[in-house]
Amino acid sequence: MARTQALMIRIATGDSRSIGKQIVDGIRMKIATGELAPGDQLPSVRGLAQQLTINPNTVAKAYTELTTEGWLDSRQGLGLYVAPLRQRLSDAERERRFDDAVQRFVHDVVPLNVTVDEVQTRMAAEFDALTPRKTA
């Protein structure tokens, strides 16, 4: 039986992202990078709340959002687990988010006067670094 995976995320107060949003983003990133693998068990609501010194309701809401989006599976009475990999968003939603992210990125990068080649090389390197590592 899988043991609870340590969840090494940090949250910051004073950030423009709410604490709940920071948790959702943090866990999604860990799943996307393979640091959390399908089948890994998440900390309990109370456990993660205590680890971060925040209200348990905030953790519960973040977990609900991740479950609704298909990143986590809840097993009755056992807790939450990272869901098997699959297409997690509808095509339209995926398209919309991709569009948003690209727009934000372009806004940020254009003022830096970098060339398209530089952007592509750098992006490729970043994606390479994120490829899930196979661990025993």
Binding site: T13, G14, D15, S16, R17, S18, I19, G20, K21, R46, A49, Q50, T53, I54, N55, P56, N57, T58
Partner: protein, 305 residues
């Protein structure tokens, strides 16, 4: 059960006048049962007056206040037993021993929960034989919280409970509030000026100003009402009174910074209309949003011409 039971606190047109000054100004406030509600407001927003009326220590000048479904002016000792109150002064007789006070509360309150008391006091290095006067500020805060939670209150009002506590004591206080089983079935009203704490604990944010309710929602919803715009506008920029939703403005290194309330992309149009060359916007954190909101109407001396 009466219908009032859906709300732990319910005020209708509640006013309290001190001489020429209105500390509470026709306040209509309904706080639902359950969860942690943070009340923020500048000094003088009426928080202390509100609590004094709710606890029956002060009569309203007009309007009505109900707490746990009861008229706050007619609370019985049993009603009071359902309400816990901890304020920043943490006043207990300094000459009494911790064990004696705990025993006294145990006898006095029918719903006393010894396990809850021990669970909370366990967060602090408080010995039963110590006198209250020998406890540090943080230990006294913890002792007060332990006493309040052990009475198994339905409603716990905390008025600036962590004021003057160091970071370690603050953390112990928050942990014993957030994770004690004793607090599970309790509605908490948390009054604080410390946004960092509010971000960590609050399910619901209530903003009072000059005795009136200005806002009530989840904290992140309030944040999303405030945006920060930076525009490069030649010369002086627009007259502040013409800027829609303006909370705060600053001119830094020749750029105009605006914190505004309830503005969408239309605000960019406004800035373009007054000659802005470049325009950027970003969201702000809770601390910044609340401070700008409260600072807007803060009294300031009449500006020099």
């Amino acid at each position: 059960m009466s219908t009032h039971d859906d709300h732990v606190i319910e005020t209708h047109g509640l006013s309290r006048r001190y001489g020429r000054k209105l500390a509470l100004d026709h306040l209509d406030l309904r706080i639902p049962r359950g969860r942690i509600h943070a009340i923020v407001g500048a000094n003088g927003a009426g928080k202390s007056t509100l609590f004094r009326i709710l606890l029956g220590f002060l009569a309203p000048s007009a309007g009505r206040a109900r707490i746990l479904g009861r008229d706050s002016q007619q609370l019985t000792p049993e009603d009071r037993g359902r309400i816990g109150f901890v304020n920043e002064e943490h006043t207990l007789p300094g000459w009494m021993r911790v064990s004696a006070i705990a025993r006294m509360h145990h006898r006095e309150y029918a719903r006393w929960n010894q396990r809850a008391y021990e669970e909370v006091i366990g967060h602090y290095h408080v010995l039963p034989e110590q006198k209250v006067g020998q406890l540090s500020r943080g230990e006294r805060a913890g002792f007060n919280l332990a006493l309040a939670l052990a009475r198994s209150p339905e409603l716990l009002i905390l008025d600036e409970p962590t004021l003057g506590l160091d970071v370690v004591a603050k953390r112990a206080f928050l942990e014993s509030l957030l994770y004690s089983n004793a607090a599970d079935d309790c509605t908490v009203i948390y009054c604080s000026h410390q946004m960092e704490e509010i971000e960590r604990v609050a399910d619901n944010l209530i903003i009072l100003e000059r005795g009136r309710l200005m806002h009530m929602s989840a904290p992140e919803e309030f944040c999303s009402r405030v945006t920060h715009w930076v525009a490069d506008i030649p010369f002086k920029g627009p007259e502040p009174s013409t800027v829609p939703g303006l909370l705060e403005r600053q001119r830094l290194d020749g750029l105009h910074h605006y914190l505004v309330l309830d503005q969408d992309e239309g605000f960019a149009e406004f800035l373009r209309g007054v000659g802005a060359r470049s325009i950027q916007s970003m969201p702000v954190g809770l601390d910044r949003a609340v401070n700008a909101f409260l600072a807007k109407n803060h009294a300031a001396p009449a500006a020099a011409a």
